[in-house]
Structures are given as C-alpha cells and as structure tokens.
C-alpha cells in the first residue's frame, strides 16, 4: 500500500486529489472530483450525459448516485486514516429523496464513528442546495487492511 500512502500524502500537500481518485477506475468512468475546504472534503460528480439512467426527465441513474456516494465514503476514509488503506465495504444502504437531474451533484461523508476495525459513515448527496438532498446513505466499512471478508 505504499503507492496509496504516497498518493495520499502528495494530495494533502498539493490539494490536488485527482491522483487518489484515479486509483479506483469506476470513479474515473463516472468523472468524480474532490475538493478540500479547510477540514472538509466535498466530492463532485459533474453533469455527464453518460450517467443518465432515466431518459424521460432526464435523470441520473440511481445506481450512479449510490455508487458516487459509496465512493465518497471510501475516499473520505482513505484520506483521513492515519495509515491509508482502501476501506472495504461491508454494507451500504441508500434512500432516494429527489430525482437527480442532469446537472452537477455534490456529496459529503460524515464518519459517525471510526473504530479499530469498522467505520460507520453517513453520506448525503445534493444538487441545488445541501438542505434539499437528492439522496442520503449509510454504510459500514472494514478498516483493518489485514482482515479479510472472504
């Protein structure tokens, strides 16, 4: 995991998080970006016609929104861990509240508790304003890189 440690350190130093995001191929396919504001990280999913899942509204694919939120949590954990490791997902549950229109979507992850082995995350995603989320999600991640789910 030296590569990850190196990328994370560089990203924190330069403020450019793209090299870390590029480590997960699907994040690149979706076009995920990340910006840091003080201590807070906001993830952005730019408007992209390839992410449409409902051509009638048109609206972003529900799976894309959920994946974006899952990636937000995974990156948030990776970036805030003392010894970065790609957190392994245990479970993920998302509530859809509004249609995600074909425009930029933002997401933030709050780590509600970070234990030795498991982190509890809650994530919200919004477009126009954070007070009107399009979806909220909860997920558990396995932190111990030596533990295996298999």
């Amino acid at each position: 995991m030296d590569l990850l440690q190196q990328r994370v350190n560089q990203a924190h130093a330069s403020g450019n998080y793209q090299p870390v995001i590029d480590l997960i191929p699907y994040a690149g396919v979706l076009g995920v970006h990340c910006e840091r504001f003080g201590e807070e990280m906001i993830f952005r999913l730019p408007c992209n016609l390839d992410n449409i899942g409902n051509p009638t509204i048109p609206a972003i694919h529900g799976g894309v929104i959920a994946s974006f939120m899952e990636l937000t949590a995974a990156f948030q954990l990776t970036l805030q861990l003392e010894h970065p490791a790609l957190a392994k997902i245990i479970d993920f549950s998302v509530d859809y509240m509004r249609a995600g229109l074909n425009r930029d979507t933002f997401a933030m992850c709050t780590v509600e508790r970070q234990g030795r082995r498991v982190a509890n995350c809650s994530i919200i995603a919004w477009q126009e304003r954070k007070s009107q989320p399009i979806a909220s999600a909860r997920g558990h991640f396995l932190l111990d890189s030596f533990s295996s789910l298999t």
Binding site: L4, P25, V29, G53, P55, G63, K88, D91, A99, L149
Partner: protein, 158 residues
C-alpha cells in the same frame, strides 16, 4: 412469453446511456426474474492496485438488475423510481471475471414494488453480495408515453 420479456428488458437497458457505457446486458429474463451481466472491461481495471476493483460499480449493477425485475412483475410498463437500496457485501469481487446480478420482484402492491438480488461471479451459489430494493409505482398514465412505447417495442419514435 419469456422471449418477449427478454426483449422488453433489452430495449429498456439499451435506452440508458450509462448502461451502454458499461456494456451491461440482460442475458436472461422470464416471468419471475432477470439476470444482468457486467462484462470484464478495461475501463474498470486498475493496473496500480489489485483491490476494490469493482468499487461502486456493483451498486450500479444491482440497481439496474432490481429495476429491470419490475418489468416482468407489471402487466403494463411503468417507469418506477427507486425508493431505497441496500447491499450487503460478503466478499470482494475479482476484476478478471464478469459479474452477474440475478434479481426478482417478489411482491407487488398498489404503490410499491419489493425486489431482491444476488450478485455472483463464477458460482451462483456463492454470491459476493445480496441486495434488497424497493420501487415506487408512478401510477397509471404517469409514465412517459414515448418511453413506454420504446420499451414495449411499439413502432413509434421517441
């Protein structure tokens, strides 16, 4: 009948930009269930890390499969928005094999559809993930007519 359902599912998935991007295909569909495959593809493989290869994309596969399972469950096509989705990941999928999602809609009520899915790779009896998802019915007449014709295969241009 199964053939018609399969074609309906294929027309639906073919109409979605993100599904074309991921080359997702419906390989089996009948009155009860649908099976969707995510083929192995370069854009989802990382040369740098060998972990978390399918990060996120499993979620998209499951959402698609459960959404498709609402098609055989309803007499008339309705475009049902997802209400919630929950996935339990039992093991990490490997990048070198395609990923399959088998989904069924096990209960239809006036307003809500209840679905479940299993995700597997080489062995269907050893899933990498389980999922449940619920969908809201839009109510009759609330699905875009042009899109409904497209899914139903009625010769009308969207």
């Amino acid at each position: 009948m199964s053939e018609q359902i399969l074609q309906k599912c294929q027309r639906f998935i073919g109409a979605l930009a993100h599904m074309r991007k991921l080359q997702m295909q419906v390989i089996k569909a009948d009155e009860k269930s649908v099976t969707v495959v995510l083929p192995v593809q370069g854009q989802l493989v990382s040369n740098e890390l060998d972990t978390y290869m399918h990060g996120g994309v499993l979620t998209t596969l499951v959402d698609t499969a459960t959404s498709l399972s609402t098609i055989p469950a309803l007499k008339e096509y309705e475009l049902c928005p997802t209400l919630d989705l929950r996935i339990d990941h039992m093991s990490a999928p490997v990048a070198s094999q395609p990923m399959y999602a088998h989904a069924e809609c096990y209960r239809v009520t006036r307003n809500v559809l209840f679905t479940r899915a299993t995700v597997y790779q080489d062995n269907p009896s050893k899933p990498v993930a389980y999922a449940i998802s619920t969908f809201m019915r839009p109510g009759s007449g609330n699905t875009d007519l042009a899109f409904k014709s497209l899914v139903d295969g009625v010769k009308e241009t969207i």
